[in-house]
């Protein structure tokens, strides 16, 4: 380990989003420039896991000053090094300026996006290099494990987790301690643990981010869990679409093994535990636990009937305890700081914090961690900064394809498992997708139904066929072919699918349709009765027009149109030939005068 002390650390985000905006090139530029000024003994650059404010990547935070820089490019680096690192003058023009304001915010924890959050699971994000076990250890890493293995009996570990009130973060919210106890009490040798990192909900990426930012926390949680239930083999099932997460967790496993924290005779206590990484194959249904286990066994991932539950008869028919990434990442800190501390966070029935990915039509996209029970409004407006472009908020979709859309009037709802379920949505894995007035709710319902129809494994007829029929009906509605009575038929079919499906995918599949029907029925009716899409999304029901008042005849749209549907003299208002227009929206995208309107 690098035992030198540095006066300054530059933490540069190396989560997937920032890497894709070239944060690694920025890091190299930083190191080059630091060397050029001979600062390499004073300043250290560290590539961290996801810092969370993905919208603003690449991000760098200079510590201990806590100065937050954003949207950096290689060209910004000479100035940053010269001014801030050499002269000690933070560079205002690289800082974050909140929407609608002029003055930049310099300190990270003063930025609205960060200051309302509470970090438990994401405690190590942006403060350490996830590929260095010693940095994790320096931040109390593996202290929980040491405590559990050397001072606690398995039953005591389970009691502690039960007392903390921790519930599974994968979606259903089953009490974690109870699950462990059931698994412990099941007789049988060769129990297994699984970490479910098959994060399939579109719009949710907290599990990827945790694995990338703090892989050792997940691993430590698993080892503690192994001791508690009496397992000696664990699997981490990761989505194939997450190469960086796979890489980091593999490094973590190697390092932990080298340090005697994993493998044979952990910490000299005589306890053995091995962990293997399994890559998924790109099937949404494999997030369902029985399907996931089939996939780990090398079979096609189709769910099977429960009971028997995995804790009784799971992987290769042995008792198996499955929890998701975020749940595992909660374990070490609960053991270390105690259930009493943990249970002060959150609400009566939903303890602790929850990580949400706040995305869609929102100013501050990113990953946020908040205590359970916080109102949705606070997350969306105080942390997220509301809807961009002065548009009106319409709904927030929670819980992925199994969840629902929550309208504005319910925004004061506290986020906990029960409240969201009551509103017809679910907590799910924690995706919050914000929609504005330009999002069509029928289109959103169709989107989810198409997704699920494609991902249905096909075992249960109501799910396989029912979702296809639903998709056809919704398609007809978005194309203006909807009929009176369709909405009732949709509701009827939804109930059949709910009742007649074996696994969670089918049982919850109609939620997006039911919740949009409940809160946005008028939009469906507009499509059916008036043949119009109020949000201006459904192609067959809309027309692109040019506002002659606003059009300056600059000709930009004329050039952008791929089908040559726009005509007009320079400096004269242009027009769109509706017979040729394919409604691709290219003209609207390039127009600088808001002269293209959708009706």
């Amino acid at each position: 380990m690098d035992l030198k002390t540095y006066r300054t650390h530059v933490m540069i985000c190396a989560g997937t989003a920032c890497v894709s905006t070239h944060s690694l090139a920025v890091k190299e530029a930083l190191e080059r420039e630091i060397q050029k000024h001979g600062l390499e003994d004073e300043v250290k650059v560290i590539a961290t896991g996801c810092i969370g404010f993905c919208e603003r990547g690449p991000i760098a935070v200079v510590q201990p000053d806590d100065v937050f820089y954003q949207q950096l490019t290689e060209d910004d680096i000479p100035l940053l090094v010269e001014e801030h690192l050499l002269q000690g003058r933070p560079v205002e023009k690289l800082m974050y300026i909140p929407e609608g304001e002029k003055k930049p915010v310099s300190r990270m924890m003063d930025i609205d996006f960060f200051k309302h959050q509470q970090f438990v699971v994401l405690r190590n994000r942006g403060r350490m290099d996830p590929e260095e076990i010693e940095e994790y250890i320096a931040f109390d890493g593996y202290a929980g494990l040491t405590k559990a293995l050397t001072t606690m009996k398995p039953e005591e570990i389970i009691d502690e987790i039960k007392a903390s009130g921790l519930r599974g973060r994968g979606g259903a919210g089953f009490p974690t301690g109870l699950k462990w106890e059931l698994c412990r009490k099941t007789k049988g040798d060769g129990k297994y643990l699984i970490c479910n990192a098959d994060e399939g909900d579109p719009g949710a990426y907290m599990d990827r981010s945790i694995l990338e930012a703090d892989p050792h926390a997940v691993l430590e949680g698993l080892i503690i869990g192994a001791k508690a239930v009496g397992a000696h083999q664990g699997f981490i099932y990761v989505r194939d679409e997450y190469p960086l997460a796979v890489k980091r967790i593999k490094i973590a496993i190697e390092q932990a093994t080298e340090y005697g924290l994993l493998g044979k005779d952990i910490l000299g206590t005589g306890f053995d535990f091995e962990v293997e990484v399994v890559r998924g194959g790109g099937a949404f249904v494999c997030g369902e636990e029985t399907a996931l286990m089939a996939s780990v066994e090398g079979r096609v991932g189709r769910p099977s009937t429960r009971p028997p539950f995995p804790v009784e008869k799971g992987l290769w028919d042995r008792p198996t305890n499955i929890n998701n990434v975020e749940t595992w990442a909660n374990i070490p800190i609960i053991i270390l700081k105690g259930a009493d501390w943990y249970s002060t966070l959150g609400t009566e029935k939903s303890k602790g914090t929850k990580v949400f990915s706040l995305v869609g039509k929102i100013n501050n996209s990113g990953l946020v961690e908040v205590p359970m029970g916080i109102p949705l409004r606070k997350i969306i407006f105080d942390i997220g900064g509301g809807v961009p472009g002065g548009k009106r908020f319409k709904a927030v979709q929670t819980g992925g394809p199994s969840g629902g859309c929550i309208p504005e009037e319910l925004l004061d709802l506290p986020v906990d498992f029960e409240a969201l379920t009551q509103a017809g949505a679910i907590m799910g894995s924690g995706g919050l997708i914000v929609m504005d007035e330009n999002t069509c709710m029928v289109d959103v319902a169709l989107y989810f139904v198409s997704f699920l129809a494609e991902e249905s494994c096909g075992k249960c007829t109501p799910c396989r066929v029912g979702l296809q029929r639903m998709k056809e009906m919704l398609t007809a509605i978005t194309e203006g072919r909807g009929e009176e009575g369709d909405l009732e038929r949709l509701e009827n079919l939804a109930r059949t699918i709910q009742d007649g499906s074996l696994c969670g995918l089918g049982q919850t599949a109609p939620n997006p349709v039911l919740s949009t029907l409940k809160y946005f029925r008028h939009e469906y009716e507009a499509h059916i009765r008036d043949q119009s899409c109020p949000a201006g999304v459904c192609k067959p029901l809309i027309t692109y027009l040019i506002d002659v008042e606003k059009c300056t005849g600059c000709g930009v749209c004329l050039k952008a149109c791929p089908v040559g549907a726009i005509t007009g003299e320079r400096k004269q208002p242009h027009r769109i030939d509706q017979a040729l227009c394919t409604k691709c929206g290219s003209c609207m995208e390039v127009c600088r005068f808001e002269a293209i309107v959708v009706e």
Binding site: E199, P202, G203, Y205, E241, G281, M435
Partner: protein
């Protein structure tokens, strides 16, 4: 094993599946069912560049579909197909987990975020 071959070759050749089946002693039909069930596998060769348009929810509400339409139009192929010059294979994926950058298009292993139709044209030129 299948994942490694997929990565190496870009698809699962029939002969490779047959070899695995006899080596590992599992029926070929089982390998076929795995290869068709999981999206990570392809039974046909892919083009030189693999374009994946993200249609996760965040990308969907931020116009991911328009990008896919544009690619289908410009490349003259449908989703799942490969251009005749073997340059591009076009696919759509449900969420790559970069929702903060929506809409996202992944080409080979490079993520391109916050794209507009116009920028996408420029991005494509970089892939020969």
């Amino acid at each position: 094993m299948l994942q490694d071959i997929q990565k190496e070759k870009g698809y699962l050749p029939e002969e490779a599946l047959a070899t695995i089946a006899s080596e590992v002693k599992v029926p070929l039909s089982r390998l076929f069912s795995l290869a068709t069930f999981y999206k990570a596998f392809s039974l046909v060769p892919r083009g030189r560049h693999y374009i994946n348009v993200c249609l996760g929810t965040a990308c969907h509400v931020r116009g991911g579909m328009k990008l896919l339409d544009k690619l289908e139009r410009d490349l003259g192929i449908k989703t799942g197909e490969t251009t005749s010059d073997n340059r591009f294979t076009l696919e759509a994926v449900r969420c790559v987990g970069c929702c903060g950058l929506a809409p996202v298009v992944v080409i080979d292993e490079n993520f391109h975020g916050k794209l507009t139709q116009r920028e996408l044209t420029k991005v494509l030129k970089r892939y020969g």
